[in-house]
């Protein structure tokens, strides 16, 4: 029984980590006012790039770097389309999803079923020996630790630094920020691209740590779950952490249920995270809740200094 508890919780963190990265990145982008629905596409390309570089060079960190950069590259495409050309952000984001699925499927065909170097667990001395908590939290791979650290860093950045304040102002009231001399366009570019970095990292985690191999479409809708998580988290990194691990937990619950022989068909259990997503969206998509909890007011609205309504 102890084993099951530990494996469920550690599974939750493993499955939650890619969600966490993607959610944190999207929080930054959305806080600047840019909605990027292309997480799924950026994650897939991150996963593919990470895996192929690891396969070719054997260098894990080079693989992660390449995945991060490819995410940023795709996000910069979205930034150009939605910020400079002011194309509808939903359409542009969806385009990224198809682009990611297409490219990774095309290039990835050659890698199907292959294996590459992957991240191994790194037990932290002392902390890793604490019963229960140790194996769940402190006996993980490096990327998980990066996830832990990202949360307080981003929180501190958003709420305590000047740059974070500027970022929030750009997403809340771009005209006010502009009138105070903050470069709205540049700010949005920067955080959209940083959001892409995080999505690339999330993808790399999936193909280099979570299931270290290449499978077509291996992100399996996690990008969409992350989009929902941003809303669930009401754009807050700390709630994002809770949400990501909770969703991770739901998605590994099926394994524990199978071991415990809970009489629910596997196919139904596979649906849990997605059903949960639908419920989160149902709850959170009402305008009233968004207004109460403070969605960035200018989210999804392109900014132009001379064109005001």
């Amino acid at each position: 029984m102890n084993d099951i508890v530990i494996s469920t919780f550690s599974g939750a963190i493993r499955a939650g980590t890619p969600l966490l990265f993607a959610t944190l990145g999207e929080i930054l982008a959305e806080r600047s006012g840019v909605l990027n629905l292309g997480l799924e596409g950026m994650m897939l390309m991150g996963a593919f790039t990470g895996f192929s570089i690891s396969y070719i060079t054997g260098n894990l960190w080079l693989a992660v770097l390449a995945a991060v950069l490819i995410g940023g590259l795709m996000a910069s495409l979205h930034a150009f389309m939605s910020i400079t050309l002011r194309i509808n952000q939903v359409v542009s984001g969806l385009a990224l999803v198809f682009l990611g699925q297409g490219l990774s499927g095309f290039w990835g065909n050659a890698y199907v079923g292959m294996q590459a170097n992957s991240f191994q667990n790194l037990k932290i001395p002392l902390l890793g020996d604490i019963p229960y908590i140790g194996p769940v939290i402190f006996d993980r791979d490096v990327l998980v630790y990066i996830g832990y650290i990202s949360v307080p860093v981003i929180w501190w950045f958003l709420y305590k630094t000047t740059a974070g304040m500027n970022l929030r102002a750009v997403g809340e009231a771009p005209d006010a920020a502009d009138a105070r001399g903050i470069n709205v366009i540049l700010t949005r570019y920067v955080y959209t691209i940083i959001g892409g970095f995080f999505s690339g990292l999330a993808g790399a985690y999936i193909s280099l740590a979570y299931t270290p191999m290449w499978v077509q479409n291996m992100t399996a809708g996690r990008g969409w779950i992350a989009v929902a998580l941003v809303i669930f988290a009401i754009w807050d990194p700390v709630i994002a952490l809770i949400g990501a691990y909770a969703f991770g937990g739901i998605s590994v619950l099926q394994f524990s249920f199978q071991i415990l022989q809970v009489p629910i068909p596997v196919n139904i259990m596979n649906m849990f995270p997605y059903i949960f997503t639908v419920f989160v969206m149902l709850f959170a998509s009402s305008n009233r809740i968004k207004k109460l909890f403070g969605a960035p007011t200018a989210l999804g609205i392109p900014y132009s200094r001379e064109e005001k309504t």
Binding site: K160, N166, A169, A173, D178, A179
Partner: protein
């Protein structure tokens, strides 16, 4: 007099086919209050947005202290000591006052020292007697309080040139007085102020000099001491203006609109109208005054059935259901919304279709029970266009190409032609020039003569004085009291607008 600190030379700016500024010259002396006067659309705000770096001029030069400068963004303007309070405030609603003042300051470094900024805000508010609550969030503040935050922002960065765009539009008369004192205090401390307005009285009261703009051109610059209301009005409009309307005493008949204790939700999920009861009789105009954002829009929309409500509304004695516009149309209710482009017209449709939009379901225009022949509307439309002297190339012209005044005439024509028993008019002259304003006034007064009941919701007190027979004041979603629509009651109305009960 003292030296010029700012000069604008030959500034021109056009938006697609509209010329907003045409070779405008403007200068500002140290320590003076220079009013920029003109009708809506005369190009005042455009000119100042150029000075503040929001718009790029097509031509022209800017000189500061005799040196030519280029301002290509608000940052440049701020660095040159120019500050602007725009009509729509540049504040982040979810931020506190301190954070808003801190936003964009150069001195902040990586981690802002908000406590230092807070201290300085308190100092400034003591020195200039501007009361602000540093830790309050902007969305919790009234429009007047938000404006004080904007003033603090300008004082904080020691702006030498302060541009105020229609600052009194959202204030009660008493708050406006307080603002004027602050402005005088600021100029006493070496700042120069550009005061944008279309209201003659306040320009005469506050300014040292006045520059009048009309259709994007400078008509002239005069010393305030050497001018008067009539001269300025003539410069502004280009002809003599009848400032008083011919309001005849009313002979109210039976009640047409009766409202019993309605509550209406606003967009933010907060109750915007909180228990309003009122009655408008045939042949009278009831004016509803109040500072904007006190439930005016929601009240108008609820009465016309565009917004849900609880409580009862009776039109012509019969109860109407919430959210049912068709029922209102059948009961001959006309509606002139505050945002005509969004709520009253369909910009991409020609004039003639807009004119008959409300009548599509009526039997007069159903020439055939199954099909609809819009072509047959053209002839009657031409008559209406003539009757209301709507300036349009033809009835096929798309409405979005008309000027604001002509758009409003299309709305009026359609609503009046539906033979209304009740007219709900919300800010009916907003953004119109004086000519169009007069037209609207005359149409409404003529309707009143005919026995129509009119509910006039307006922000401009003079509009209410000119038209209405009674005036109620809306404050935080409630009618706080009634008064006489007369200038001698302005003090009392102003107090009620600020929430002080009689």
């Amino acid at each position: 007099m003292s030296e010029k600190i700012l000069e604008l030379k030959n500034i021109s700016k056009s938006f697609s086919n509209l010329i907003a500024n045409d070779s405008v010259d403007f200068d500002l002396k140290k320590g003076e209050i220079h009013a920029l006067l003109g009708e809506n659309g005369a190009g005042k705000t455009t000119l100042m947005n150029i000075l503040y770096g929001i718009y790029k001029p097509d031509a022209g030069e800017i000189f500061l202290d005799g040196k030519k400068i280029v301002i290509s963004s608000p940052r440049d303007a701020i660095e040159n000591g120019i500050g602007m309070i725009q009509q729509h405030f540049s504040l982040v609603p979810s931020f506190s006052v301190v954070q808003n003042v801190a936003l964009g300051l150069k001195e902040m470094g990586i981690i802002p020292d908000l406590s230092k900024i807070r201290k300085k805000i308190i100092e400034l508010s003591d020195r200039y007697k501007i009361s602000v609550e540093p830790d309050a969030k902007i969305w919790q503040l009234s429009a007047g309080e938000q404006q004080r935050v904007e003033i603090i922002k300008l004082l904080y960065v020691k702006s030498k040139i302060m541009i105020l765009d229609e600052p009194t539009a959202i204030l009660t008369p008493q708050e406006a007085k307080g603002l004027f004192e602050t402005i005088k205090e600021m100029t006493a401390n070496e700042a120069s102020v550009i005061f944008i307005s279309h209201k003659l009285k306040e320009v005469l009261e506050i300014s040292d000099r006045v520059t009048v703009l009309r259709h994007g051109r400078v008509i002239g610059t005069v010393e305030t001491k050497e001018t008067n209301e009539n001269d300025l009005a003539r410069m502004m409009v280009g002809r003599d203006v009848v400032l008083k309307t011919d309001k005849k005493p009313s002979h109210p008949s039976k009640p047409i609109l009766e409202i019993e204790n309605i509550h209406v939700m606003g967009d933010k999920g907060i109750e915007a109208v909180r228990g309003v009861s009122l009655e408008v009789r045939g042949g009278e105009i009831l004016g509803i005054a109040g500072v904007e954002g006190n439930g005016q829009r929601e009240l108008g929309e609820a009465i016309y059935g565009l917004r849900n409500y609880t409580g009862n509304i009776f039109i012509n004695g019969s109860k109407v259901r919430p959210g049912n516009v068709l029922e209102r149309i059948k009961n001959h209710v006309a509606y002139i919304p505050q945002d005509r482009k969004a709520d009253a017209l369909c910009g991409g449709l020609p004039v003639y279709k807009n004119l008959f939009m409300k009548a599509f379901s009526s039997p007069i225009f159903s020439f055939n029970p199954y099909f609809f022949y819009p072509e047959k509307l053209k002839e009657p439309s031409e008559k209406v266009v003539k009757e209301f002297s709507i300036a349009t190339s033809s009835v096929d012209q798309e409405v979005k190409f008309l000027s604001g005044g002509n758009m409003q005439k299309v709305v009026l024509a359609r609503e009046i032609k539906s033979h209304p028993k009740l007219i709900i008019a919300v800010h009916p002259t907003r953004g119109l020039d004086v000519g169009a304003e007069e037209f609207v006034y005359n149409v409404l007064l003529a309707q009143k003569e005919k026995g129509t009941a009119i509910l006039l919701i307006a922000g401009d007190l003079y509009e209410i004085f000119n038209l209405s027979d009674r005036v109620g004041v809306l404050y935080e979603g409630q009618i706080i009291g009634y008064s006489e629509p007369d200038e001698s009651h302005i003090e009392e109305i102003g107090l009620m607008m600020a929430g002080v009960k009689k």
